[in-house]
Amino acid sequence: MRYLPYVLKHLRASWIRTGSTVLAMAVCIFLFVTLQTFLAAIDAGLESASDRRLVTRNAVSLVFNLPLWYGERIRSVPGVRGVAYASWFGGVYQDPKNFFPNFAIDAERYLAMYPEYRIPTDQLRAFLRDRRGAVVGRDLAERFGWKIGDVFQLESNIPPYRVGGPLQFVVRAVYDADLDRDPGTNLGLMFFHWRYLYEATGRTVSPGSFVELIDDPSRAGEISDAIDALFANSVAQTRTETEGAFRAGFVAQIGPLAYLLNAIGLAVTFTILLVTANTMSMAVRERRREIAVLKTIGFPSGLVMGLILAESFVLGALGAGTGILLGRWVVAVLPGLPVIGDIMRAFSTRGVDPLITVVAFALGVSIAVAAGFVPAVLAYRLRTAELLRHA
């Protein structure tokens, strides 16, 4: 600690260079924090998928629905314990920027398959009794300030579900989750009765997908094949897969983006390494005379090297700290932004994971220390007499 003022004074003396290096480092760490948080949110969403649930959809595309009667046929497949259906409603609340995922569901059977959605019994009863009833996640309720009994309207942007005006809903239940046990559970969803949609559209629509609960996860592939075989010669052929694979299909659409962002992050990290290395090289080159003086008055070479590495460490710590704070702030405000906020909410991000914070700090400090290592070794190796002669 006795050398810390010496280290800090040097950083402060060349504050423009220090500031720009810290800023560059902060940008690097900020990118790392936000990107990793985004990817972690995606991973959490995938991990929350149950391996005891299968999803059956139209083999051609998700935009094509399946006949309602498929449910009874699927129920007859050995190993299937329960079947429910659902439709992506695509409802807009007041303005498109208020996006949140909303589904019409085969309520009683569907919710029974998702025990991670914890709904108070009295609220569940109230929801099941009310045709216009809605179940909303805790985050969604907090976002719009909804309370039990509140009424709101959604208007779908999907043609078959457009009925000449918005549908009206009443908040009858708010679901929560044990995030320690089910960490990826999305608390930003809204569910309502599929029958309400069916009747509102003049009984013309059919389910978008079926969800099956199976006895034995190890037989998921076999059961999926059996379900798809049932409709192999139908007009609407099906594709059945585990819930995890189904969600991964969505994620695959943004997979290239993740790769791209990772590649950019790597390039930025490498650039910051060079920037910091340059900063430290300049610092050592400019201070050859000073290094000569330190060594002359008795500072051991190891201590001189340590002082230079300490400067690098402080640069890294300041940059990483700034980047982490910036990242945490951006992750906190992202869900409120248009477009990107929709994505973040869909993946139910719960802020920056402490592990990401620790790794980001370690990364920043490691980059800085690595960048300072070569200049520090050069300072270590310089012989005092030569330094005095050439300084």
Binding site: Y3, A13, V293, T296, I297, G298, F299, S301, A385
Partner: protein
């Protein structure tokens, strides 16, 4: 008793295949409390001899004993540790650390000691008082004149209470008046604090302040 004993010292620099003999079998004794001026033309080996006495460099052969310690027996880290306790340095261009105040510059060698911060500060203030700059402790080198910078450098050199003070052209970058002040100060350190001083200089007026003048010519001491 001698503070410095240099015996049959040779110093040879190798530049590719060429060997340059800088010091050639040189002997030098400096008694305790002596003030010696080393003079000679450029390239005569004055600074090399000073570096050997200060433990900054090692001879190719021969021995250098300072304060009873044979410096040729010490490793590089051992020499660094020895320098921090036994030698004070005064350079031609002062070599103060620009980002540190006068007080912090003087305190710098004490960072290597076991003293507490308050003890270090107290000693540094005392050293600044000795050189007459007690009121300039918060000033940075850029806020001081050349003469004042050199006096701060002298305070830094004596703050560890070293056996020997080595000075390489201490007045070489100063005007006549500042040079005289610095030399007055060195005389005080030698006379009142009994510091042994080895000073390299080109300046005859500076050399006159020393008790003994030695001349170097092509790596050999030519007169006493």
């Amino acid at each position: 008793m001698n503070a410095v004993e240099v015996r049959n010292v040779r110093k040879i620099y190798r530049r590719e295949t060429e060997e340059i003999v800088v010091l050639d079998g040189l002997d030098l004794d400096v008694p305790e409390g002596e003030f010696v001026a080393l003079m000679g033309p450029s390239g005569s080996g004055k600074t090399t001899l000073l570096n050997l006495v200060a433990g900054i460099d090692v001879p190719t052969s021969g021995s250098v004993v300072v304060g009873g310690t044979d410096l040729t027996d010490l490793s590089e880290s051992g020499l660094a540790r020895w320098r921090s306790r036994n030698v004070g340095f005064v350079f031609q261009f002062y070599n103060l650390i620009p980002v540190l105040t006068a007080l912090e510059n003087v305190e710098l060698p004490l960072l290597l000691s076991a003293l507490s911060r308050s003890e270090r500060r107290e000693r540094a203030r005392t050293a600044l008082e000795i050189v007459g700059l007690g009121d300039r402790e918060r000033h940075y080198p850029r806020q001081l004149s050349g003469g004042e910078e050199q006096r701060v450098a002298i305070a830094r050199a004596v703050v560890t209470d070293p056996i020997v003070l080595v000075a390489d052209e201490p007045t070489g970058d100063l005007d006549a008046r500042s040079a005289a002040e610095v030399l007055d100060l060195m005389e005080v350190l030698n006379r009142d604090l009994l510091k042994t001083i080895v000073m390299v200089t080109h300046d005859p007026r500076a050399a006159e302040r020393a008790h003994v003048q030695r001349h170097l010519e092509k790596g050999v001491l030519t007169n006493g």
